[in-house]
Amino acid sequence: MRDVQELVQGPGGPRRGDARRPDMRVTRHGDLRLTRWADLRLTLRIVALTFRAQAEYRAEFLLKVAFGVAWQVSIIVFAAVLLGRFPGMGGWPSDAVLLIAAMRMLSHGLFELFCGRATELSTIVQAGKIDAYLLRPLPVYRQVQLSIFPSNALGDLLVGVSMFTSAVVALDTAWTPLRVAYVGAAVAGGALMEGAIFTLLSALQLRLPAGLSWSRWVEELLSTFGNYPLKILPGVVNGAFTFILPLAFVAYFPAATLTGNTSGLGVPAALAAAAPLAGLAGFVGSRLLWNFALRHYTGVNG
């Protein structure tokens, strides 16, 4: 009888691990894994390759970038018209309202770039790609995000950065290091909060294709109401956008903290100021729930 180890390793010569790469480490189980640095390099390489794949279809690529720009510009135009007609929106000066819109757009661009594939997860599920992702020794959520390069996010980011720069310049405030750090954290927190919302909805899409319609509806809500002081809305709606769909934490609360417009937020000022942390907590929670949903994944076609 052949020795089991020989059968596992095969008689054909050296197998896995015999010629160990310098970017591999041994886990506590004795398995070989990529080092964290090699893991990051691999992720960036996949991003670069999928970007190249998209860019090779030049017309389609440019059309997607232009779509991102057009989408965001249409929101800006609508916001500009509103601000022109109602300059004192909820008691907020125009430069403060502009900051809300700018922070939300930049956060949205970052969300699209890093987590945007969560929005349309059910198309990935229906194509049976989750099955393939489960076969690879990489986190499934990361593979979902790396499945395609989000060309439209470039358009979103282009508009977001431009608008954010204009808003920061226009805002009449002293940009101390603390404020600069806070606005950075707030933009990241906003992206994480948007990521949390759509990751949660994509967990639903892992089981129910109808979750896609909900994701699209929520996307509409975010772009419609996310750019203005929510205190202009009736109390119930304001509450819903704070505690049910936490849109207020994306840009409204951080902008209120930065501009000092903390009256009538519906929550204590300290909680509003903690919006970046809420974004982080929300994202971690949504990822845990996503992993739970993945463990109960039932696949397509049985």
Binding site: L7, G10, A53, A132, R136, I148
Partner: protein, 350 residues
Amino acid sequence: MTARESEFAIEARGLVKTFRTARRRPGALGMLRALVAPERVSTTAVADVSFSVGHGQLLALLGPNGAGKSTTIKMLTGILTPSAGRASVMGIVPYRERVRNARNIGAVFGQRTQLWWDLPARESFRILRDIYGVADGDYRSRMREFDDLLELSSFWDTRVRHLSLGQRVRCDLAAALLHDPPVVFLDEPTIGMDVVVKEQVRLLLRDQVERRGQTVLLTTHDMTEVERLAERVVLINHGHIVLDGTLAEIRTRFGSGWRVNATLVQTEPATGRCPPGLRVVRQDGARVIFEPDGTDGVAPPQALKRVIDRYEVTDIHIQESDLEDVMRAAYLDDRADRELDGELDGETVA
């Protein structure tokens, strides 16, 4: 338990997978009823499946469409979590330690690709090389090997979305074997391939098992593939294992074992003058097929002699039972058993 301690490369013990769905009734009233008070049904795709595969074995998991083959493979690869039972692959429970298990296995689902759709196949291979940490030298020699057997280099710089099904599945096979996994799962790997490519794939699989000692679990509807590759067959139907054994054992149990194919000089009906111990299965003009009638346990050489003694023949040979017939007999036997037990429905209303 580590792979070294595990006696088997693959073990399934009492695996069950049940899917819960809402039963939809026809018509508008049925739709309303489904909305207000949905009737939940449990569909058992896999029911109490147990088998094991030794290191370096090639096992064919066979069964008709919807028998539970793919669901079983999905549980063994960590895609699905069983409703009950236990699975282990190289000593690892696949659905509990998905990432560790993924490093030990390669898998091809013929209907779906695991390659990056928008990238050339070769880029996918390079990414997989880095994901699995395959050393450059090993990668180059493996790719040379695959190219020799599967002729990949003529199309591996083409984007996966532009490949034909046969080319794509060949690339999928190379991708699944690139990191030299000890266990390989293949779910209809030769689907959509022409006969030449099928033969290339069979050669590759034989090579993997015989030279590299890989354990292979294969599902296919191609009986030629089973005859060429499989040492052992597990037959599954309605989520149950119908039989588990070597091809020879299955032929003995469900086939007549052998038949005599003879071409007679005369074209008169052979039924009336049938040699003792044999009966006519089919006659098409001068061509007659005989099989043992079970009365005297006649052996193939005696049967040949009896036919030659009885008729004037121009051609005669022994043919082993067609594997498809044997499988059909096994399914029918299982179906008859289930009909007797009243188990055929497969759905239980919750």
